[in-house]
């Protein structure tokens, strides 16, 4: 199901599972909407608003997870980035992002780039109840999508943490979220060429998570590892300073995912939303189980950070196909994602790629897995098309991120000074401590 739904000229493709929820699309244009139609419209919209605030709370989840998995001396910096990102996401999406992502490609358009103009504008003939065939208003549409946009930048934030220069990161985020994310997003959800090709990505394993993950990978490679991470060729773990904060983050992300996936049904359709709730939760549970099992075997000890990553891996993995796989398949997808993420964290570290929070493993690797899984298990989906989509996003995002990061690096630098890194970005960048009064061994 694509997400193109603007301009009133496109039909909302009804959920594939379960019965068609509403048969009143035709009458909706009638003069006075009936109470029943209004009720149906209102419940659809209410659910989408609930989904919106659930996706919003994922930003707190990311903020908590990222700060929990990094050192106390960089906590203010991470919280600052996450607070900024949600503001950046909303403001750029309002400025241009929404209209870049849903340009309303004309019939016959190649579906690569379109722009419906700056700022919000529901249009002169805007009618809430026909806007998205009675599923939600223009405003809901904007805000739900805007909450998604900021997510991509947040993923980068965790991977480049503890060494990236604040101003450089913020600038990158503005451009990536404001321009790159919506343009590549339009290829599928905006009804562009990948959508026309039959590429499938229900809620964004690729469009959100991999898009963020690719940029994270590029950022990490251009920045290099944190000082003290690889000494004489040996990888030294740099422990997160608060696992309760990390756990709070993961639970909040799972909570938010009910809106992320459940809201991607784009209506309150009972059968579809509830089914997506089940596949999403079962994949998360299986991701936990998979990661615990494999990490217990490999590392001999049950590793909490792996269990938490396993949960996220399951969630990212199910995101592309949450509505087209069976419950049993969702468990399998989650289980595999949980195993993959453990392997990825270990291998990526072996490859001297320093990703403090495992963002690349979780969002990029499992995002790819999830997109493939939708092709493998989803009825009528093609693995080949999925691969094309994955590659298209990969190539574009890597190039885009490399160019943006490259220019920023050349012009203003990407990384804080070694001194600042040692002392912590909180004091270096912000002149402020996260835990004033607490005695903390900052040598670590």
């Amino acid at each position: 199901m694509s997400r193109y739904k603007r301009m009133g000229m496109l039909l909302l493709i009804l959920p594939l599972i379960g019965l068609a929820p509403m048969a009143f699309g035709q009458e909706a244009a009638a003069d006075a909407p009936s109470v029943a139609d209004t009720a149906m419209f209102t419940v659809n919209n209410t659910w989408m608003l609930v989904a919106t605030f659930l996706v919003f709370i994922m930003h707190l989840g990311f903020a908590s997870l990222e700060s929990g998995l990094t050192r106390a001396k960089n906590t203010v910096n991470i919280l600052f980035k996450n607070t900024s990102i949600i503001a950046i996401g909303l403001l750029t999406y309002w400025l241009c992002g929404f209209n870049l992502m849903y340009p309303g490609f004309e019939e016959g358009s190649k579906g690569i780039f379109g722009f419906a103009g700056f700022l919000l504008n529901p249009g002169a003939d805007y009618n809430p109840m026909t806007y998205a065939d009675g599923a939600y208003t223009y405003w809901t549409d904007f805000l739900f999508q805007a909450m998604f946009a900021a997510t991509a930048a947040t993923i980068v934030s965790g991977a480049v943490a503890e060494r990236v220069k604040l101003s450089s990161f913020l600038l990158f985020s503005i451009i990536y979220v404001g321009v790159v994310y919506p343009i590549v997003g339009s290829w599928k959800w905006g009804g562009g060429w990948l959508d026309q090709l039959g590429f499938y990505d229900f809620a964004g394993s690729t469009l959100v998570h991999s898009v963020g993950g690719w940029a994270a990978l590029v950022g990490v490679l251009m920045l290099g590892p944190r000082k003290g991470k690889y000494v004489n060729g040996i990888s030294k773990p740099i422990m997160g300073h608060s696992l309760p904060l990390a756990a709070i983050g993961v639970f909040l992300l799972w909570l938010g995912w009910f809106g992320f996936n459940g809201g991607s049904v784009l209506s309150a359709d009972a059968e579809a939303v509830s089914f997506v709730f089940v596949t999403t939760s079962m994949a998360a549970a299986a991701g936990v189980a998979g990661a615990i099992t494999i990490s217990w075997i490999v590392q001999k000890k049950p590793d909490l950070s792996m269990a938490l990553n396993g949960c996220l891996a399951g969630l990212v993995g199910i995101t592309a196909g949450a509505d087209v796989v069976s419950v049993n398949e969702s468990i399998l997808i989650g289980l595999i994602a949980g195993v993959i993420v453990v392997a990825a964290v270990i291998l990526i570290d072996k490859a001297r790629i320093d990703d403090p929070v495992g963002a690349i493993s979780v969002h990029l690797v499992c995002g790819i897995w999830g997109t493939l899984a939708a092709g493998i298990f989803g009825e009528g989906k093609s693995v080949m098309t999925q691969v094309i989509g994955i590659a298209a996003y990969g190539i574009t995002c890597v190039i885009a991120a490399a160019v943006i990061f490259g220019i920023i690096k050349a012009v203003m630098g990407l990384r804080v000074s070694e001194d600042e890194e040692m002392r912590g970005l909180d004091i270096g960048e912000h002149g402020m401590e996260a835990y004033s009064g607490f005695q903390i061994f900052s040598s670590m």
Binding site: S235, K236, P237, M239, G240, S295, V298, Q299, K300, K301, D303, S305, M306, N309, V342, V345, I346, D349, G358, Q439, F441
Partner: protein, 113 residues
């Protein structure tokens, strides 16, 4: 007067306090410390990477005593802090030249207790 510094296992703190108390050594100061010694440390693992932790948590006691209390203090600590396992800790004894009670300005032996 001597200044006795002792590093002990954190879990022995209550026992040591109790033992000192019984010998009427009621004043002491405590800080947290990390110790590196014969005790090998242990292995943690974090996100798939093995960590050798060789800085172990210890508690550091500082006790100023008059000469006649030195031996009882040592005995009390050794007795109560010993488990027989590596890592039990050390006691260091320094000469203490002067001691002043801030509240009263008292000096020397009287100020210690």
């Amino acid at each position: 007067m001597k200044l006795i510094i002792a590093y002990i296992q954190p879990e022995k703190l209550n026992a040591v306090k109790q033992a000192l108390y019984e010998k009427e050594i009621l004043k002491l100061s405590i800080t947290n410390a990390l110790g590196c010694g014969q005790q090998g440390g242990y292995h943690e693992s974090y996100r798939g990477v093995d960590v050798e932790v060789n800085l172990l948590k210890k508690v550091r006691l500082e006790i100023a005593v008059n000469e006649d209390y030195v031996q009882p203090t040592i005995d009390a600590i050794v007795h109560s802090a010993r488990s027989g396992k590596i890592g039990d800790g050390k006691i260091f004894i320094l000469a203490l030249e002067e001691c002043i009670r801030i509240r009263t300005g008292e000096k020397g032996k009287d100020a210690i207790g």
